[in-house]
Symmetry: D2
Subunit: 322 residues, 4 copies
């Protein structure tokens, strides 16, 4: 009887937490002007600590390629990746755009090109403004005051600093033969993974979760089909219990679809970005790290400073540490 | 008489070198399949050597922001940087693109955005295919065989590895009060700079030349106006005499315009990319390094892997070394 | 005395009109759901009336070309016109995008291309939502209710019907040797023009005003430099006194800059679109009509149905009438 | 015996025709500089003839809307239609792009927008350079001489004149309850259609073939799925037997897929454009004409003059004739 009552009390308490606390944007512990959330955990001291542990000149490239036909989030109409040539050696001869004539343009063989893309495409980081709650974003910034036609005046991608921190690969894919469709990775999975790898999470870590989905990156239809993702509970555990500074995964959207909650179509996104101020990387390439069983490393990455943007491409690297 | 004869012989010899050698694309000393030129100088050993010298957790960001109105090379019709919102918190409520209705879209405040750009915009690296000579690019690759509608099958930006090397700032701007319009930096300037800084170039260095032009980056018209650049002779000296692996500068196009040679409108570009296989970075932000007199550092950068592209944005960082 | 008093009364009344009436968006006489303003003047009867007067098979093309480098309104960061090839005969052979191999792609020579543009570029029509007043557009529609991320739910370019009406060229340029910089065409100019041409405006006309600026269309810098435009008074006279249904001109922005009023940077735009529900065409090509002294014609045009858009390209034609 | 021999002779002859004649680009009967093929059939006389038959002021709009998510040919990586806002009333207040401040930007409510698209999207016309044979296009123009980075110097969309001609709807869809998947419309179908409608084809006609597919235009997946198209034989019959000047249909690609010939993946395209110099329209909206049984009409259309392009959007109209 007592137990049951407690159980309901716990439930009610949980509901209160979710209802009253979790469903609102967080106020930053780093102050009302904070625009980078948990990345404030980085300091000169934290950086030199990890840099001084580097024990190899081997570099792991954690980014996918950008190419026409690459996977992308298009169900809400966002543009696919486009690449086009603006100048070619032959075309320059025919067009003579510089007015210097055939001899010059046959000698100087010019190639130029352009790209267009949704900012959440390829290996990239989500900025804190990407998802908010109830009309506000992290730290209470509002579109009425801070969102112009060229993006957010607050928490735009240009504010994201270069990231140097301890990285930890959680090779969840190595635990199983395959995942069920749309599988959601649990706290138990993460714990099993840590045990299997004989690794521990440290406060301030960059946690990269391997689902193995990146194997299919060249085949967009396969990559986008029923991929596994991280559950809300697992994300909460990493952030609240373990003190992770930054998360990442090798799938399209970090979390899985359809959403695990009825009242929120991207509960992991809003939890991390809007409630907790924790950014994360998507569409990473973690296959080489996994193959070589490199679980701990210096994580170094710097996203493009796209002013006002809700996300930004980056090409992170990992260097094994001692 | 003999001297005079010798003088003419030297001239003729020089002419032969320029005519027969320099005006043709180079064949890579790293073999017929090489696509990255001088970046082959990097090894695990060269990387750990510089990484182990890191003596600070302070990070210098060497990249400019991307924003609508930023400077760009537009005289040949290339597209300016564009940024646009594809989803906003309010617009999502009005449009209901996910079909989930007003309550959901008022709760989950979605911001998404897209960008388009010429690949030679903001802080970026020029790939070896950007400029060739006489219809070929570095190592003899031809558009007939290797250039499709989605860019080059050879030497595309996706082939450029992450770069970790010793970086050296040459603060040429510190030598003068101001540069004359379209000033071309000479070998003497570089030597004076090294002496002033009490630094030496090492083989395999990333040499970053500060013209100070980046001060004007937010004012595109000023930034693009009669900016100083690096002379062909200075580029040759850095590569052939000093063994530089990679070059960079804080101006629009590394070299200055109008060109210093009548028969080539971008002689420094074709010399470095097509003849020597040496890439370079443009539109860098070197002001903080200069202000703090940080001349030697670990240079770490990884450009986006834009498949087939002639250039790629990157956000390099510098970390002071002991 | 009495007269003077009346004069001041009139002035005060005018001021009241401008202050109380003209500075607010208009409510459509065609009802609260109206989205096309004065184009409601068109009927089957008005169309057959003009079509039945057609007396020639000669067609005048009133549109400029779209090309990279064409003039555009870029001072607020809007994108220039871009054109790029997505498929070429040779590139298709190298890339093999359809997987059909070299023989097929050498036989079937494929060319495909894409464009991007600001919607107010080349010969185009301004939709009624392009400029509003005090946060509303024509007929009181509000962005809060009707503006999503994909444009306006009301008065978007897809609502603009094909236009068939009597067209009248007002060749103002023929009155003068040249215009002073940024000249504003007056009511007197229009009257002099009508007299010179021996033409009269009829209610429901499409009035096309030739400034001659289109002569410089291929030279963007010249075209954009200190061009003449239509004064607010002249626009008011055409609409309120003469009952014009649609206006047009051969310059960048119909009106001239800098603006003639201190409290409104585009007073002619807001007057026509927001107050009166009268659309207009910009960047037309009227040189052939002028050369042949064709002043009266059937005007036929149909803009692209760009859903939600604030403007749309069109290629109007004129056919002389009896 | 004789008959059988003749039969084989005919077959062989047909094969010769196809092998020797049809598989090469045509030389224009209008001369070596011709860039518009069969549209040369239009004259002032042909235009006034049809215009003078107009017996109604009712206008049929034959174009679909452009909107994000609209159907498009994307299997070879071509860009989807994109629309984005560059200026909004609220965003202008936040961004202050014109530097005029909050009061001005709250008063003058600015909306601007931009689009990007593949040129073969929505209701459009294919230019003669869209498909060639064996490395040449209509009239023998070659990419080596005439294809630059900004499109074709010959037969580009800017060369296509405004089109005014007799239009004839062939409502093939009215013959059947439904089409089998990927159905190819035959000569017999066209004849049955003419008989049912009691109409005849006249030399120089614009022939619009209704498959009914446009009913599904708002549902891109449905529209693109196994749609019916026009067979090569039917196209040949229309052009060679009946003297059609221009063709059109309401489906994605005029012809159906998979192709009816093994050695050519778009045999109807290459036949019409490259061999015969006959352009055609795709993705039309013919439902209203069909509903009202309007089979004969004045067809009036003018595509955007996209310089060098392989296709161009247009919004054709039809006006019933007596």
């Amino acid at each position: 009887m007592k137990t049951k009552k407690n159980f309901f009390q716990v439930l009610a308490f949980q509901f209160l937490i979710w209802g009253a606390q979790a469903q609102e944007v967080g106020q930053s512990p780093w102050g009302p002007e904070d625009e980078i959330g948990s990345l404030n955990m980085m300091t000169d001291s934290s950086r030199i600590q990890i840099l001084s542990q580097i024990g190899s000149g081997q570099v792991y490239d954690l980014s996918v390629d950008y190419f026409v036909g690459m996977p992308s989030f298009h169900s809400l109409g966002d543009p696919s990746y486009q690449y086009w040539l603006t100048h070619t050696p032959h075309g320059t001869v025919v067009d003579n755009p510089n007015g210097m004539g055939e001899a010059m343009n046959e000698k100087v063989s010019y190639t130029g090109d352009a790209v267009s893309m949704y900012t959440h495409m390829g290996t990239h980081i989500d900025a804190l403004n990407h998802f908010g709650l109830n009309g506000l974003i992290w730290n209470g910034f509002s579109p009425e005051e801070h969102l112009g036609d060229k993006g957010w005046k607050k928490t735009g991608a240009e504010k994201i600093p270069p990231i140097i921190a301890r990285g930890l690969l959680l090779d969840v894919r190595a635990l199983v033969d395959s995942f069920p469709p749309n599988y959601r990775i649990t706290i138990q999975d993460l714990k099993a993974c840590l045990k299997r790898q004989k690794t521990e999470i440290q406060k301030g870590d960059v946690i990269l979760i391997r689902t193995g989905q990146a194997k299919h990156y060249e085949d967009a239809a396969h990559y986008l089909h029923q991929y596994p993702g991280i559950s809300l509970a697992a994300a909460q555990w990493l952030v609240e219990e373990k003190g992770a500074m930054l998360l990442g995964a090798d799938n399209l959207s970090f979390e899985a679809f359809p959403p695990e909650k009825e009242d929120n179509w991207v509960p992991v996104h809003t939890y991390l970005l809007a409630e907790r101020g924790v950014m994360f990387l998507e569409q990473m390439m973690l296959e080489d790290l996994a193959k070589d069983k490199v679980y701990e490393f210096a994580f170094i990455a710097a996203s493009l400073k796209l002013r006002g943007a809700s996300g930004s491409p980056m090409r992170p690297i990992a260097i094994p540490i001692n």
